[in-house]
């Protein structure tokens, strides 16, 4: 079973919750949370088979940027995507996709757009500490 670890830096919870798609979400620590449409934090997902690429976009998603990056000692693809949640709020997904240990990893920093300028630096710092193991 693939595992990962990162330093939560006091920004996200150490213990994750498992989402419906199998991702694990480390929510913002209580002191940093604010009312919003989404659950802000860092999520990590591992899928079988290496093929890190940009996923297909849904009708309510807008791809803002794609750039090569490096994460966990491996080449990665970093993307910034905006998602409209039912016409109610815009959520930012900043994602790093990489292949490591025979798996396709996706690390995502997420939060409401209105909170993003405040949240993004800390969430990126958490993701920068990610390490994965096969």
């Amino acid at each position: 079973m693939a595992t990962y670890r990162f330093d939560p830096l006091g920004i996200v919870e150490t213990e994750p919750v498992v989402l419906d798609d199998g991702s694990t979400l480390h929510e913002l620590v209580h002191e940093l949370r604010a009312p919003g449409a989404s659950r802000a934090g860092v999520s990590v997902r591992a899928d079988p088979g290496p093929e890190a690429s940009v996923a297909a976009l849904g009708p309510d998603e807008l791809l803002i940027d794609v750039e090569p990056a490096e994460l966990a000692g491996a080449p990665a693809v970093r993307t910034l995507v905006l998602v409209q949640l039912g016409g109610v709020a815009t959520v930012v997904l900043e994602q790093w996709r990489l292949d490591a240990g025979g798996r396709r990893w996706t690390a995502t920093a997420t939060g409401d757009l209105a909170l993003w300028p405040r949240l993004a630096p800390g969430l990126r710092a958490v993701i920068a500490t990610l390490e994965v193991e096969p």
Binding site: L80, Q84, L113, W116, P117
Partner: protein, 263 residues
């Protein structure tokens, strides 16, 4: 030309440019206009009237009646007025050849909407100079030429010249003004040039004759667009609305484009 239309689900009004301008003039309190003509078009579109607008149109008019932030959006040589207030954002969208639209949405959708409207998306990341100082009039001329599908070759230093002459996609301007809290800024202006080689920001210097052009990433541009909605602490909360003289009302062709093309 399409006829007037109103989407009762979204509150989007499609109507002739002069009618939406008249509507904005009346609703913002900027002056008098032909209310009877506005009412006739609203009725034909099924949007109610100035006195009794359809509830969705009333939502769209909320930020126009009491704007907290005024937006000016320039794109493809046109400047469009927008208003933020009461948690809503409404923009008078200019459309060449078709009737214009009054587009309403929740205020927090502003950055997402602008990213879509300005086609902010992935661009090449080839190396470009950190900044290029140019003559502002030459830059205006180059952009105006390209907007008119004329050559701009040779007007600017390389590699900016080639980027605009051979890979021009669009020019845009996004500005916002608000009543500032003490010691806070009261406006933000972003100007961008979109090319196949990437996005460029334009900083106009106070001397009026010089501009500095810098390469910017789509991500940085998107985050800057988010700043058009200032944090609450930057806004004077005691001001009932943006002062009338600072409130945008109508738009039109960007004057400098017209000037550059007539020169």
């Amino acid at each position: 030309m399409s006829g007037p239309a109103f989407n009762a689900e979204t509150g989007l009004l499609t109507a002739p440019r002069e009618v939406i301008a008249a509507l904005a003039t009346i609703v913002t309190g900027a002056g008098e206009a032909d209310a009877a003509e506005v009412d006739a078009v609203l009725a034909a579109a099924g949007a109610g009237s100035l006195a009794e607008p359809h509830p969705k149109l009333a939502d769209a008019l909320t930020p126009m009646r009491s704007p907290i932030i005024g937006i000016r959006l320039g794109k493809t040589g046109y400047v469009m007025p927008g208003w933020v207030g009461g948690g809503r954002f409404t923009l008078h969208v200019y459309r060449g050849g078709d009737d214009d639209q009054l587009v309403p949405m929740p205020a927090e959708h502003l950055a997402h909407f602008l990213a879509w409207l300005l086609d902010i998306g992935p661009r090449p990341r080839d190396p470009r100079p950190e900044e290029t100082t140019v003559d502002a009039a030459a830059l205006d001329q180059a952009v105006a030429n390209r907007l008119a599908e004329r050559s701009s070759h040779g007007l600017l230093p390389e590699p900016l010249d080639s980027a605009i002459a051979h890979g021009f996609r669009d020019w845009w301007l996004a500005g916002s003004r608000w009543t500032p809290a003490p010691d806070a800024p009261g406006e933000l202006m972003l100007e961008g040039i979109d090319t196949d080689a990437g996005l460029w920001s334009v900083q106009r210097l106070e001397d009026g004759t010089t501009a500095i052009v810098r390469p910017v990433t789509p991500m940085g541009t998107f985050l800057a667009l988010g700043d058009l909605l200032p944090s609450n602490h930057l806004i004077d909360g005691s001001a009932p609305r943006l002062a009338l003289e600072l409130t945008p009302v109508v738009g039109g062709h960007a004057a400098w484009v017209t000037q550059a093309l007539s020169g």
